[in-house]
Symmetry: C2
């Protein structure tokens, strides 16, 4: 098979389907989503068999247990996929929304209409549920999708794709609205990201190395995030009742997620008061603390049993550990805190703990990250928690969409003009 | 001078300035804009002298008269620049706007805050007024700017840059908020578009070749438009009183602008009625008509004195003439019209002339261009006409900003969370 020709065929079909999808009724899109869910439930045994084959091959190939775990689908996972499709059906349709219509001195009325982006290419790891989720979000937002999942999940992805096609057909929508790339050749990715005539945006998910490579080589816009080096800043007027619960939740609720806090900043004025308290909590959870000299001095003085203290290096301020490790720095005030974050953060999510109104508002305004929070855990940076219903990913880019990307992030707004024969002077 | 080092210095300074600008008050930004205007008026003689030097060198170098014309600045042009700065001062500040704040079941309140993009690189032709306009729009939207104008305007751009710096200093803002690239070495452009650490978005203006090259080579997002192949579609229920005025205005008001109509589609059912009438108007203006077979047959039958009729080739459907030439095609109905536009258009601006409500709404929804109009001239696609106050350019891209890009297009929205100690379950 000629990969270039194959991918261009997918692209051409996706472009054609995207025209139809852009004008598809909400009812038809919802009917397709519900029919997909029904098909996934009907074909449960097929999906399990396809997944079993993937898992077997992955084991034989010596894949890591954590990856095998992500790859594995059970009956509960299949039901969750079906429910996910139904949940997207229940979300409001963003397409066609008309806003900001204003009459101009010339007589024309100018406004904006929300429209799909067109064709979305999604490149993701070997997680079968992403195939169904991504298909649902793209379809509901009126976009055609080309899905390229990790090669280890190929059989299962093909089985899910068959359910998706069945759902589309049942609703009278073009089957090429959602296409799964059926080759494991890596050249397919290179082709997918360099067809601006057929693909409007790429959403890559997975390891940082992969996403960096895709961003570097893509000839179409990429919605992505690379790192989640999230900060919690304990300000001088932090409410003592909020400090430990927020730091505990932000750092220790889950270690492997991108919205987990990796760095803790503590104001000098309250460091001696709060650091030992925080460290006691972290010590019980066996979280390694990589501190600046000043924080280490305070913590050594406090002699907390079981505390793992390590001197932080410059590298620690930029690190996304995804592990029970946290970087700790004492700062001289909000200016240094904001400057530190804007220098070292990956631009994902940052939180301040304070009761001071002016400093809370300054933090919200001046911290240049996709999500900025006052008195809340960074773990809230998530499409479901924000009320988007679902998310296709999180963006730390600055144009188009920042933070969790839901249905609206897969659309843009064109200008519309309601005229009555006006001509320009 | 080492170009890479020079550009990185500009980039580093711009990044630092952008942090200050993001939190600058509206009052300070407006004061700077008004002080720039005053400085431009004060230094009128210097600006004229610098411009005269540019024009003299450009003439000696054999530059085309049209380009010399764009390059030349007179007292009126200088006053217009100053007024342009004051007009931007009078526009509402987009930065800091908080919208869509909703309380979530977890207790947090989630909303969006409008923020600057950061550092904007603008690459443009030898038009001194763009230097002032671009500086104003970037500053008002809280962005630092690196401006790289056409080399023929270097002396005048440097003189304008001095006025801009004086204005910034007068308002207590960092002078490196707006920097003009002071080298004519083309390598500076190559460097500017490949510094994602210092530049957040590039806005290229000028010839299609230049913009294509920049888009291809840029390592940062580019807001751009390449072509303006705009269509007017005369539908079966077009109001006879609106047809000729709109086509006349869209095609003939100005031939060289990107929102000028280049293609006319006429429904078969009304072609015999409207085409001769339209052609008579075009003939009096000496506009060459490149028609499909069917339209040529109708127009030849009508024997219009002075009509220049030429058979259209496939190439004509994609052409941006920027000249008194129009492509004409008879279509079988709205389906063919929409399909034709979505196939051949550059995605800039399209208009339908109709009194039929359902077809008007279909056109608005299904035509995939940055601006879509009913019963109005395509010439209205413009930042001033749309009420943006000013525009930095027009985008035919699909992500971030479509159509005229004003202050809002130079910002994006981050998520903000107002919490009260909430942690995630």
């Amino acid at each position: 098979m000629d990969i270039q020709e194959y991918m261009q065929t997918l692209g051409r079909q996706a472009r054609a389907a995207s025209r139809q999808l852009a004008s598809a009724s909400t009812a038809a899109k919802n009917a397709a989503l519900c029919a997909m869910a029904a098909s996934i439930r009907d074909r449960r045994e097929e999906l399990l068999a396809a997944n079993a084959r993937d898992v077997e091959e992955a084991r034989a190939a010596g894949l890591e247990p954590a990856m095998i775990d992500r790859l594995t689908l059970n009956a509960k996972g299949i039901e969750a996929m079906a429910q996910g499709l139904e949940q997207v059906a229940a979300l409001p349709d963003p397409v066609g929304e008309i806003t900001d219509v204003k009459r101009r001195p010339s007589g024309i009325q100018v406004g904006k209409m929300r429209v799909p982006l067109g064709v979305i290419g999604i490149i993701y790891e070997a997680r079968p549920n992403v195939t169904a989720d991504a298909a649902a979000l793209c379809l509901k937002s009126g976009n055609a999708a080309i899905l390229r999942g990790g090669k280890e999940a190929l059989h299962c992805n093909q089985a899910i794709a068959a359910c998706v096609r069945a759902g589309l057909a049942a609703a009278g929508l073009p089957e090429s609205a959602v296409q799964v790339v059926e080759t494991t050749d890596r050249a397919a990715v290179g082709q997918l990201i360099t067809m601006p005539e057929f693909v409007d945006v790429i959403v890559p998910r997975g390891g940082k190395g992969l996403i960096e490579r895709i961003s570097r080589e893509a000839r179409v816009p990429v919605i992505k995030h690379l790192d989640g080096n999230c900060h919690v800043y304990v300000e001088t007027e932090a409410d003592p009742a909020k400090v430990v619960p927020i730091v505990e939740n932000a750092k220790t609720q889950r270690y492997g997620t991108c919205n987990t806090a990796e760095s803790l900043l503590v104001d000098r004025a309250v460091a001696a008061r709060f650091l030992p308290e925080i460290a006691r909590m972290l010590a019980t959870k066996e979280v390694e603390m990589r501190g600046c000299n000043e924080s280490l001095a305070i913590l050594r003085e406090a002699a907390i049993p079981g505390a793992r203290l390590v001197a932080a290096t410059e590298q620690d301020w930029s690190e996304e550990y995804l592990a029970p490790i946290i970087a700790i720095k004492v700062v001289s005030g909000i200016d240094e805190a904001i400057a530190h974050i804007n220098t070292y953060s990956s631009g994902h999510t940052e939180a301040i703990i304070t009761e001071n109104y002016t400093r809370a508002m300054r933090f919200l305004r001046e911290v240049d990250s996709a999500s900025v929070m006052v008195n809340a855990s960074t773990r809230f940076a998530d499409g479901f928690e924000y009320g988007l219903g679902a998310e296709i990913g999180i963006s730390t880019d600055k144009i188009h969409a920042r933070g969790p990307v839901g249905l609206e992030g897969l659309t843009s707004q064109k200008w519309i003009v309601f005229g009555n024969g006006e001509t320009r002077r």
